[in-house]
């Protein structure tokens, strides 16, 4: 069957998923975060009765509405891809992946769409309190949909709560709560939604900064800036905290990803964290070369972050590939051998069942279960293949972390200068505020690269490599749909860009002109 392992199909399928996920993620962060900021503004209005705050809430709700209308449904394409390009993966994941996704669908469609309608069309039509509750329900509903998706994603990175049924080659859920409350998944959820909060805050900061630079809608812009900078500040601090949580769980469950994030080839006790560094191009596992041309390291920090112990051993790529007996790390070659035992035993089991050979089936099943944990390694040919692309992950990780910390400082500065009414004197900072929006998207895309490219070669960590996750379909079909999606989604993004810019240029409605609030 190896002749069917078509790398063009695998690569195009990966490319297509990356493309659609990238576009999807251009819309999602604003949906995740803006609703909370709109809800804050409207709460202030309901509590104080100040109509200015309702005007602020309405204006951002209009921009939110544009993003929501254009972005809604882009996730459907990802769902379609699971059924086609990744049908082996979908089959093997079974109800573990399907159940959270179905829950997401129900939540997104019923909870969100119902209350989104109240939020958009309910201004002045329903009681203020009910309207406000609806805005909060949209906000929490959006985060809840994200929870289910990220639980599914968390499971792929750290599979728990299931057993593999060799009769039908599916993972069956045995512990729903273990899947839902997987610490990896919960942390991933918090890290991802807060990144959406930060991006949304920057969206509001950027638009407000532009108004202030233009001298338009000054009070609306400044008040919005106060709320967005406050929410952005605490979100970005929380983002760093959950980022620490992510690093901890990656160290526990995906040491190869951590080694790539840090460009760590030779493991060490009391490992330092590379603050800034340049990797040596062409460095290979076991070639004895220094991995870095230069680096500035914070001593022991990697051991502390990864293992909560300053002297803990952090395995490098070489330890993971070649094995390290002293640290109890099995070599990739041995894992591959065991994985093949598992796969052969699975084949033996199926044969024995077909022949009604009960004893043979039992024996094969025992061998399979003993080696099940290494099942995915059985598909690999090259032990080095367990390490993802080091430079790509290393630099993406640094871009994300550096920008993340810069954002905390920027929010702090913006907040201080806005509340002390000195913002207009610092025009350079307003420009920084505008450019921070694309930078925030860059940081979060870099984060997704670390998470998803960093988990290669796996779709399900240790159990299923990406190359076996694809379907038996023609690569040309995937190329065709790739082009189709690229065109379709580019049109949507261009529409968003144009409509959003027009709405921002028009600004909030003047009271005498009458409503144009979506």
């Amino acid at each position: 069957m190896i002749e069917n392992l078509d790398m063009a199909l695998v690569n195009w399928s990966r490319g297509q998923f990356a493309l659609v996920a990238f576009y999807h993620w251009l819309f999602i962060p604003l949906t995740l975060g803006m609703t909370y900021i709109i809800a804050f503004a409207q709460t202030i209005h309901v509590r104080t009765g100040n109509p200015e705050w309702e005007r602020i809430a309405k204006f951002w709700a209009k921009l939110f509405g544009i993003n929501f209308a254009i972005g809604v449904g882009t996730g459907i394409i990802l769902g379609l891809e699971f059924g086609t390009n990744w049908s082996n993966y979908s089959w093997i994941s079974g109800d573990i992946f399907g159940a959270p996704l179905a829950a997401e669908g129900i939540l997104a469609f019923f909870l969100e769409s119902t209350f989104v309608a109240v939020m958009f069309f309910g201004w002045g039509k329903v009681s203020k309190k009910f309207h406000l509750v609806s805005i909060y329900l949209v906000a929490f509903g959006a985060s809840l949909s994200a929870l289910w998706i990220l639980v599914a994603n968390g499971w792929m990175n750290y599979p728990v709560g299931m057993v593999f049924n060799p009769d039908n080659a599916r993972h069956e859920m045995v512990d729903f709560w273990a899947v839902l409350f997987s610490p990896y998944a919960v942390n991933k959820f918090l890290h991802t939604i807060t990144s959406g909060f930060v991006i949304s805050s920057f969206f509001i900061v950027a638009v407000s900064a532009w108004y202030i630079l233009k001298g338009r809608n000054l009070m609306l812009a400044k008040r919005s800036m106060v709320v967005a900078a406050t929410f952005g500040l605490i979100s970005s601090i929380f983002l760093a905290t959950t980022g620490d949580g992510s690093a901890y769980w990656v160290a526990q469950k995906q040491p190869a990803k951590l080694a790539a994030m840090e460009g760590l080839y030779e493991g060490e006790e009391g490992a330092g964290l590379v603050a800034i560094g340049m990797l040596r191009p062409g460095k290979e596992i076991g070639d004895g070369q220094n991995a870095f041309i230069f680096k500035i390291e914070i001593p022991k920090l990697l051991s502390v972050l990864g293992y909560r112990n300053a002297d803990a051993f952090v395995p490098g790529a070489e330890d993971l590939v070649l094995g390290n007996e002293a640290q109890g790390i099995m070599s990739a070659e041995e894992k591959i051998r065991r994985g093949r035992l598992a796969l052969d035993a699975l084949a033996g089991y199926k044969e024995a069942v077909a022949l009604d050979d009960e004893a043979g089936a039992l024996a094969s099943r025992a061998v399979f279960e003993e080696n099940y944990y290494y099942m995915g390694y059985g598909h690999l040919f090259d032990p080095n293949g367990i390490i993802p692309n080091v430079p790509f992950i290393f630099y993406s990780f640094r871009i994300m972390v550096m920008l993340g910390f810069a954002f905390i400082a920027l929010f702090l500065l913006l907040l201080y200068l806005t509340v002390t009414n000195k913002l207009e004197e610092n025009r350079w900072l307003l420009w920084v505020g505008i450019f921070s929006l694309p930078l925030a998207f860059l940081a979060s895309m870099a984060g997704w690269i670390v998470a998803e490219v960093g988990r290669q070669p796996w779709t399900i960590q240790g159990l299923l490599p990406t190359m076996v996750s694809t379907s038996n379909i023609n690569a040309n079909a995937v190329i065709l749909t790739f082009i189709m999606f690229a065109v379709l989604l580019t049109i949507l993004v261009l529409a968003e860009y144009k409509i959003m810019l027009t709405a921002i240029r028009r600004g909030p409605d003047n009271k005498e002109k009458g409503g144009d609030n979506v």
Partner: protein, 83 residues
């Protein structure tokens, strides 16, 4: 209880009326509505309803057949002898 239900229905109707008026009044709302409708027609009608099930999804007679195919993929990819 009856009063509450009436209030709820009134809100429901007024949201519909308000939505309708907004689409009549606001060009932006109409453009967004057209985008949503066209997009959902393409996503659900064209892609999910036609293109994918007819031409793109891999076809299996039954779940049994799919599971056999997956196990075949699973247990033979690692055998260099079949390369």
């Amino acid at each position: 209880m009856g009063k509450m239900l009436k209030g709820f229905l009134n809100s429901f109707v007024s949201i519909f009326v308000s939505g309708y008026q907004m689409f009549r009044r606001s060009r932006l709302a109409r453009i967004l509505l057209i985008i949503v409708v066209v997009k959902f027609l393409v996503f659900f009608g064209l892609l999910k309803g036609f293109l994918y099930p007819r031409f793109l999804e891999p076809h299996y007679e039954s779940e049994q057949q799919q599971s056999e195919q997956v196990i075949r993929d699973f247990t033979t990819t690692h055998k260099p002898s079949e390369q």
